[in-house]
Every structure is written in structure tokens, then in C-alpha cells.
């Protein structure tokens, strides 16, 4: 008998690649390339190719574990859930609902995110948030007032149709390799590729023009690009007139942002800025792709708006091959946001402060009026700061804040002070080690549910095998926990499909994305899909913008320097990012031998001139110190980083002990991307390399 | 104590030995061992063996092993022990093969590929450095053609 072939959606990044599992006797025996997939055409990146290792990994959690003085003690599900419910109720009784916090997860399905926020809100708190806070929160806050929706305007496949691609703070080639297939195709068709990034990344290898911008000065560059476009009269006047508001103010704001000024701020030659602006404005359609190099700043919201201004000024919205593409990181970060796993937003992006949105949801859930609090809850970083103070209990579903949150030493202290810390995860992660109770969760192929990729493509990923040991899907865990907390009538679900049917009613853009349709849609469905029978919307804003007057808004964006600039004590700038072999906190990828072979350890990249000046030798360990902490890493000396900049990947414990926990005032996203640092020699224990 | 029954005496022509480990991998009893030091590879084998096969001899690429059948039990003999120098990579200075293998390569390789001896400079490098050299050469060639 030949093995059964089950098409699942890859558990790693937000491209949403299809991955066919070969299943025999309830076990995954192999994997096949989904050659007929409309998403990835069989292509996979290194992580996707190694994804199978997660399913039968020896370190997978197989049973609930309770921390005791003598170590981890296994216990049955009934005992574990009773314990969790009792501890949560203790906190509720003693400190009220706002002493509870819930970390939802962009690695879980839409259904699971919906359930966790429902649990939090039914318990009476908006303290529910997830890792979008750390990657693209500024996209939501930045774009909502500008375009009306904070999501990618065009599908990733559209990149192949662009005549010009401008990357700002996105290393697509390394972080979303499969999405790069469309970039490569565009380039083959003669498209111009412009890359603004401090480092000469693999994305920049194929660039016609690389703009090596100093970390934290992207707004100056974007403003200068807009300045040149307006100065040279290259803006799309008809588009601006008919579909936007506020262009004059934005134009005034960039009047002094000359390329010469920008050169002094960003370090990018004025001539290149002028050239890039002209290329971008003259090649239509053009796409602007941005990522965490834009969002992870103290002014990330503003930087996102500066990107949007550029796209609006050139009329690159609402058509094939154009658009503004924030490339989301995780397989379901878009969906987790759509599901309202955010402290200030309800499912479907209604504000928690809007009485109508609250009332609609309360009516749907059948709970008492006023159950959902009317004030925003705590964000990820705020929960960590409040942990052990006003926040007494934390439930983390598939999140590893100890590695992913900035100023990690402070996070660890906070988590250590909690009365009750519950973690659901695949592995005993760095964060789970400090939990009181750890519940074993199911991996992607061990549960069914829907996921939404970076381009709003909702796809169904079916259950192919059973989870190992006693592990259970997060949805199962949340439902059982909720029932024990007295919320039985609100959690009657037996399947993910039932939850999705409720989502159809709770989240208007998902109204037509029923389980039946989704399971029969090989390419998924792009939201908004407002009713059954609607084909979905691949390209947003073709007719109007979902703003009160149907027009997009320009926002004047002032440039301000990063909060922490290099000085005499900390003369270098530390910036962070990803490497192709690893994924976010590394909870999955650092447990995969094939990926560890490719990238075994934490490293920092240093420019040869800095290395020579500071006596740093390639391949040796070096200490990196900021005002918040210190780490050791192996030095890589490479001229791909500019002088004065040190690059460190954030997949290993260490990097985020150093990063800055200053947050953007609107999005509350931390400024991961620029911190002042210095290098220190490390005493070599084994002097021989 | 049972007296082991020895069938054959092992002779190794250490001047011929290349220092590959085909014999060690061939022996069904795993009697031949080796370890790499910083600069040398050291082999050890019993002088007598109870096997009745000839696999080590057959595996040896240079016929350096001679097996002498024995009619009578012999007194215990000192185990065999021999070492060879390792060849260090010309670029990274890490050992990558033995000196005799390197000598064999430099002596014969250029004939097989139709190059002069000097052109086979890569033979002096370890596989990792050969990959590095080759990729850089390809990159240079591509630059030339642009």
C-alpha cells in the first residue's frame, strides 16, 4: 500500500507554502514536494525541507509537567487542567481579571487564537496579545488610518508582475526564500530591484541599486525619495487627486528632505537616492516591500506611514503588480491579528473602546453585556513589565518571550515573580523552564485548522497524524481549561470547523471563508471574503479605501534619530535580524540537526575595519555589551555590514538580552533594530580555534 | 583459560601502506584500529588473528597486507603498530589525508586529467578549501564574462 499524501501548510514563515506529508499507519514516513501547489510550486526553503524533524523529535513534550522542588513531575490531563483552573481562579478571586495575562501565538491556527482571546475576554480582561507586537504591530497602527486596513495590499505572487521592487528593511531572500521566486521572476522580466538595507544581504545581491542606510534612519531615506519624486514632478497626480487626502501636508513635510540632507543622515550617497526615486516613480507598476527593518523601531508606526506615502504618491495601489507589501514573519501572524489576539482590538479589528463592536461580539457569544472590558489591555512587553507586580498569572501559548522579547534579563526577572505561569508548547523552551505548569501541544500536522499567510491568503491545514504521547492541540487545551473555569456554555466546540463557523460570524472579512469552502480551495481564499460565494479579494483597494470617505490619507512623517545613538561608551550600533537556517526564537529550528549544521551558533558580523581597529579576529569569541546586558558570540568579519554597525541574529538566547525595550508610542513595538553597543575581548578558554 | 586458536599471522608492509583504512573497515572482527593525532595517524592490529578470511588483504589498495597461514598454535606475539604522517592543507593547515596518499595523488593525478603537475595545486588542499577555491574561481570567471 502506498502512503497517503496529505497536503499541509508549512509551519514556518508567512509565505504559506504547501508541504505534502506521506502518512503510513498513522506515522509520517516522508515528505513530497507539492509541485502542483499554486503557492510554492513545490519549492521549499531549508526550514520547510527540515520541518519533518519536528514531528517525531525526541525532545517533544509528551505529557503535562508540573514544576516541583525536585524537578519536573509528569501528571495526567485532568490533574493538570484542574491545577491550572484552580490557580487561575485563585488569582481571579484575589486580584481580579486584569491580573491575568494571555500570550497568544502567531504559530497557532486562527481557531486557537480566536479561542484564547475569547477566553481572556470572557474572563473579563483585554490582557491578550501575541508576538505581532514584536514584529508588525506598527503595520497595523501605521496603515489603519492611512489605507483603512493594516495588511499587504497585494498577493506575494504579484511581485513577479512588478516593474520595480523597492525593498526597505526586508531581507526577503534569506527570510522568505520561497517568496523570492517571484522577485527572481520579476527580475528575469527586466524589473528594477532597489534594496535599502544597512547590510549587503542576499536580497541586495540582485539589486540594481543597494542603498546602505544607517540603522534607524529609514524615514530620512523615505522622505528624501518622496522629496525627489515631488521635486521632479513624478508623482501620480490623477491618483492623488481622485483617491487620496492630505498630499499637500505630506509634500510640505518633505520639502527640506533633500538627497544631500539625507546623505548626511543615512550615509546613502545623494546621487543614489535621486536615482532610486526616479526609478521607483517611473517604473510602473511598482511594489514596496518592507519588513522588520521598518517596523521594529521606536517610531515604527511613522516609518510604515512613510512607506505608504511613497506608494500613494506614485499611485501604486489597487492594481496588479503594485502595492505595499509588509512581509509578515510567522505562518499565522496575519490570522492571529485578524482574530483579535491583540490587547486593543477585537476579532475583525473593532476597537475594544468601540461600544458597538463590543456589543456585537457579546451578542454573538451570548454573554452578559459589559463582559468585555472597554479599555485596552496590556501588550506583550507591558505584560512582561507588569509580571509579578499587577500581573499575577500568565498563560503563554507557543510563545518564548525569554528569547524573543527585548531586554531579556528584565523579562526573566518578571516571569520569575509570577504566582502562576502556564506554558503550552512543543518543547521545554527557555521560557517554559520557568513555568509552573507546562502543557504539551500539538505541532502543525497534528491538528487541523486555518492559517492566514502574509498576503491575507487563508488556507486550511488538515491533521495528518496524531500528536506524540499525550500532547494535545492548543484548541483542545483552551476549550477544556475554559470549561473548568465555568465557561462551559461558551466553549461547546468539538472541532476546529465549528470554531471557524463562529469566526465566519465574528470577523466580517472572513464571513465567506467557511470550512467547507476552504477545505476545497487548493489556493485558499484571500480575505476580505464578505459572503459565501464571494471569490475573495487578492488585491485590495481596487475601487476605494475602507476609510470614512473612501480615500487614502497621506501622513506627514517627521524624521527623528534613534533613541540610543552610539556614543563614547558604546561606540557601535547593534542591529538584529534573521539568518536563513533559523526561525525566530529557535525553539523549533535550533532543535533541527540539519539546520544547526548550517548555522550552529550565535555570531556577530563586524566590518573588517572595525575588527582591525578593535583587535577582533574572525572565528574567535567576542563579547557584545549594551546598557542592558552582555553576551558572547563568534565574530564574523565581513564587509557586508557597514562600518560602525554590528549585526547579530536573534534566534539564540543572548541577543535580546542586549536589545532596547523602548517602544513605539502607538504600536508599542520595541526598538529591536538599533542599540548602542561596544565589543569586548573574551578570555579564550581553549585558545586554539 | 581457553587458548585462542590462531589461523594466520598478519604482516603489514608499512612502507607501502597508504594510511587509508580500507583494511580496518573490512575486518569483520574490527581488529584493526586507528586514531588520528595532531600530525600522525597511528594504526594498531594484532599480529595473529583467528579469522579465516582474507578481507583486509583483499581490501588493501596497495597490497601492503600479507597473511601467513599457520599450521600450529603460536605463542602470543606483540601487536602490530605503525604510524604515518598526516598531510596538512596548504591553506587552512588542518590535516586532511596522509602523506603517502598525497604523494600518490601528486604523482599520478595530473596524468589522469591531462594537466601539468603544477596545475594540480588543489591536491594540496583539504576538501573544504578546494570547495572554497573552486567557488571563487567560478565567481571570478563569471565576473570576467560580464
Amino acid at each position: 500500500m502506498s502512503p497517503l499524501r496529505v497536503r499541509t501548510v508549512c509551519p514556518y514563515c508567512a509565505v504559506g507554502c504547501h508541504l505534502d506529508l506521506l502518512v503510513e499507519n498513522g506515522r509520517v514516513v516522508g515528505m513530497a514536494h507539492a509541485v502542483d501547489s499554486p503557492v510554492n510550486g513545490g519549492n521549499l526553503c531549508a526550514k520547510g525541507n527540515a520541518a519533518l524533524d519536528l514531528l517525531n523529535h525526541p525532545e517533544r513534550l509528551r505529557t503535562p509537567l508540573r514544576r516541583t522542588r525536585s524537578g519536573w513531575e509528569p501528571l495526567g490531563w485532568d490533574d493538570a487542567l484542574d491545577l491550572a483552573a484552580q490557580r487561575i481562579q485563585d488569582v481571579l478571586r484575589r486580584h481580579g481579571p486584569n491580573a491575568l495575562g494571555f500570550l497568544s501565538s502567531a504559530k497557532c491556527t486562527n481557531e486557537e487564537n480566536y479561542l484564547l482571546q475569547k477566553l481572556a475576554r470572557l474572563l473579563g480582561t483585554n490582557n491578550v496579545d501575541h508576538c505581532a507586537r514584536l514584529c508588525h504591530a506598527s503595520t497595523l497602527t501605521g496603515l489603519a488610518p492611512v489605507l483603512g486596513t493594516g495588511a499587504a495590499t497585494n498577493p506575494l505572487t504579484d511581485l513577479a508582475r512588478a516593474r520595480c521592487l523597492l525593498f526597505v528593511g526586508s531581507n526577503l531572500a534569506e527570510n522568505h526564500p520561497v517568496a523570492f521566486r517571484w522577485v527572481r521572476r520579476a527580475k528575469d522580466r527586466g524589473a528594477v530591484v532597489l534594496v535599502a538595507d544597512p547590510r549587503k544581504t542576499p536580497t541586495a545581491w540582485i539589486a540594481d541599486l543597494h542603498l546602505p542606510v544607517r540603522p534607524g534612519t529609514d524615514i530620512a531615506l523615505l522622505n528624501a525619495l518622496l522629496h525627489v519624486i515631488i521635486r521632479d514632478g513624478l508623482e501620480d497626480k490623477a491618483f492623488i487627486r481622485s483617491r487620496t487626502m492630505g498630499f499637500q501636508e505630506a509634500a510640505r513635510a518633505v520639502r527640506d528632505a533633500t538627497p544631500q540632507w539625507a546623505e548626511s543622515v543615512t550615509g546613502v550617497p545623494a546621487r543614489d537616492i535621486t536615482r532610486a526615486a526616479r526609478l521607483f516613480a517611473r517604473s510602473k507598476p511598482a511594489s514596496l516591500i518592507y519588513c522588520m527593518g521598518i517596523t521594529q523601531h521606536h517610531n515604527g508606526t511613522q516609518a510604515v506611514r512613510a512607506c505608504a506615502d511613497l506608494v500613494l504618491a506614485t499611485g501604486n495601489v489597487g492594481r496588479e503588480g503594485s502595492g505595499l507589501i509588509p512581509v509578515r514573519g510567522q505562518d499565522n501572524v496575519q490570522g492571529a491579528c485578524d482574530m483579535g489576539a491583540l490587547s486593543a482590538l477585537l476579532p475583525g479589528y473593532g476597537s475594544v473602546m468601540d461600544p458597538r463592536s463590543r456589543a456585537a461580539l457579546e451578542a454573538l457569544w451570548g454573554c452578559a453585556e459589559g463582559t468585555i472590558p472597554d479599555r485596552p489591555g496590556l501588550t506583550v512587553t507591558e505584560m512582561e513589565a507588569a509580571a509579578g507586580r499587577s500581573l499575577r498569572a500568565l498563560v503563554a501559548m507557543g510563545e518564548n518571550p525569554m528569547v524573543t522579547s527585548p531586554n531579556g534579563n528584565r523579562v526573566a526577572e518578571g516571569l520569575g515573580r509570577l504566582d502562576f505561569f502556564l506554558v503550552m508548547d512543543l518543547f521545554l523552551t527557555e521560557s517554559a523552564r520557568s513555568a509552573h505548569l507546562v502543557l504539551p501541544a500539538a505541532a502543525w500536522a497534528e491538528k487541523s485548522g486555518s492559517k492566514t499567510s502574509a498576503d491575507r491568503r487563508v488556507q486550511w491545514s488538515p491533521r495528518a497524524v496524531d500528536p506524540p504521547g499525550d500532547a494535545r492541540a492548543d484548541a483542545w487545551i483552551i476549550t477544556r481549561l475554559a470549561r473548568r473555569l465555568g465557561l462551559e456554555p461558551f466553549f461547546p466546540y468539538k472541532t476546529s470547523e465549528e470554531v471557524l463557523r463562529e469566526i465566519n460570524r465574528a470577523v466580517p472579512p472572513y464571513a465567506g471563508i467557511t470550512p467547507e469552502r476552504l477545505q476545497g480551495a487548493p489556493a485558499g481564499l484571500h480575505w476580505p471574503c464578505p459572503q459565501e460565494g464571494h471569490p475573495g479579494t487578492a488585491i485590495l483597494f481596487q475601487d476605494g479605501f475602507p476609510t470614512p470617505d473612501g480615500r487614502a490619507r497621506f501622513f506627514p512623517v517627521p524624521f527623528e534619530p534613534p533613541p540610543e545613538s552610539p556614543d563614547a561608551d558604546y561606540p557601535l550600533c547593534l542591529t538584529t535580524g534573521r539568518v536563513t537556517a533559523h526561525y525566530n526564537s529557535g525553539a523549533m529550528s535550533r532543535r533541527t540537526p540539519a539546520l544547526m549544521d548550517l548555522s550552529p551558533e550565535l555570531f556577530v558580523e563586524i566590518h573588517p575595519d572595525d575588527a582591525a581597529r578593535l583587535g577582533v579576529r574572525a572565528g574567535r569569541r567576542v563579547g557584545v555589551v549594551t546598557r542592558r546586558g552582555k553576551m558572547e558570540a563568534v565574530a564574523r568579519v565581513a564587509s557586508t555590514v557597514p562600518r560602525g554597525v554590528v549585526f547579530a541574529p536573534f534566534h539564540f538566547p543572548g541577543t535580546n538580552r542586549l536589545t532596547l525595550d523602548v517602544v513605539d508610542p502607538e504600536a508599542r513595538i520595541p526598538a529591536f533594530k538599533a542599540a548602542a553597543c561596544r565589543l569586548e575581548p573574551v578570555e579564550e578558554k581553549n585558545a586554539r580555534a | 583459560m581457553t587458548v585462542p586458536e590462531f589461523h594466520q599471522r598478519i604482516h603489514v608492509d608499512t612502507d607501502r601502506c597508504l594510511g587509508c583504512f580500507a583494511c580496518a573497515l573490512a575486518c569483520p572482527e574490527g581488529l584493526i584500529g586507528w586514531e588520528d593525532g595532531e600530525r600522525t595517524r597511528r594504526f594498531h592490529a594484532p599480529a595473529l588473528c583467528s579469522g579465516d578470511c582474507t578481507r583486509c588483504r583483499d581490501a588493501c589498495p596497495v597490497d601492503a597486507i600479507h597473511l601467513e597461514p599457520m599450521k600450529e598454535p603460536a605463542p602470543a606475539a606483540e601487536p602490530l603498530c605503525w604510524s604515518l604522517s598526516l598531510a596538512l592543507c596548504r591553506m587552512c593547515r588542518k590535516p586532511f589525508t596522509t602523506q603517502p596518499i598525497l604523494a600518490l595523488l601528486t604523482r599520478t593525478l595530473h596524468h589522469t586529467v591531462g594537466l601539468s603537475q603544477g596545475e594540480c595545486h588543489w591536491a594540496l588542499c583539504c576538501p573544504a578549501c578546494r570547495r572554497d577555491l573552486e567557488s571563487r574561481r567560478l565567481l571570478d570567471a563569471a565576473r570576467w564574462n560580464r
Binding site: 514536494h33 542576499p202 | 596518499i101 589522469t112 596545475e119 588542499c125 563569471a142
Partner: protein
């Protein structure tokens, strides 16, 4: 059937997908080696040399060259002496992991080819830096690269 692996490294983005796919298909580490530099990356794999040093050095005639399919290994003859590994000019051959590992090099997924399927590295590569081509196409490049002469 076109069965030679053709590498256009100008398209490579150093994502290492080919390496991991290869490792998964064949077990152990991948048989391709993506060499990353500051401005480019070069995936290297067995070139199926015509005057192959590995074939020439093999004392047991376990490695054989065939016009249609390149270098092949007759496992039963191999003594794992490692002379082929020492001879490979490109460093793309190694002895398999553990004691008694066979020499490991790219065989362009021989088993898949026999079933009429593409090699996994070609399937997985997001930028089509890897493809399969006929012998004639690959041959020129291979010979020229091998002798160190410029590609014309």
C-alpha cells in the same frame, strides 16, 4: 533524458534549501555544498567529470564513468579506502557518516530519475538556480571549468 545537474550560481540566494532537501532525501548531510560569499553564493555538487580523478584513483574500479549518466558507484566493489575523496578536485565527495560509510556524492537522485522524477534540489530551489540539462549543455561548462579555462 536530460540528467545532468546544471548550476547557475548567479541565481543562487544562499538559502541552503537544496542542501537540506538533499539530506532529507538521502539521509545524513546534503551532497550539495552552498558556498556563501559576501556578494554571491555558489552551490557545488559532483560535476560528473569525464576524466574523473575519483574514477582514476579508485583501486577497485568501483567508480565508473558512463557517457549517459556520469560517474556511478558499484557499491559491492568499494572498500571505502577514501582515495576518491582525496582525489576530488572540488571537494564535493566525502565518506558517509559512521564507520564503513560509502563515498557520498551527488548522483542526481538516481532512484528518482529512474522513476521519471526530478532531483529534489531542483524541485525545491526557489530561484531555479539548479536545473537538469542534457549532457551537451553541461559538458562545455564542465570541461572548461575543470581545466581552469575561461567560460566562453
Amino acid at each position: 533524458m536530460d540528467s545532468f545537474l546544471f548550476v547557475d550560481f548567479t541565481r543562487c540566494i544562499a538559502c541552503h534549501a537544496c542542501e537540506t532537501a538533499c539530506g532529507r532525501e538521502h539521509g545524513g548531510a546534503g551532497r550539495l555544498y552552498v558556498m556563501r560569499f559576501e556578494n554571491a553564493a555558489v552551490p557545488l555538487a559532483c560535476r560528473q567529470c569525464e576524466a574523473a580523478p575519483c574514477v582514476a584513483m579508485c583501486p577497485e574500479d568501483a567508480l565508473v564513468y558512463d557517457e549517459g549518466s556520469g560517474v556511478g558507484l558499484v557499491v559491492e566493489r568499494c572498500t571505502r579506502c577514501g582515495l576518491c575523496v582525496a582525489a576530488c578536485p572540488f571537494g564535493v565527495m566525502r565518506l558517509g557518516a559512521g564507520p564503513g560509510g560509502d563515498p557520498v556524492r551527488c548522483d542526481r537522485c538516481r532512484r528518482r530519475r529512474e522513476e521519471g522524477r526530478l532531483p529534489v534540489c531542483v524541485l525545491t530551489c526557489p530561484t531555479q538556480a539548479l536545473s537538469v540539462q542534457g549532457r551537451a549543455v553541461v559538458q562545455d561548462r564542465r570541461r572548461i571549468h575543470f581545466t581552469g579555462l575561461r567560460v566562453s
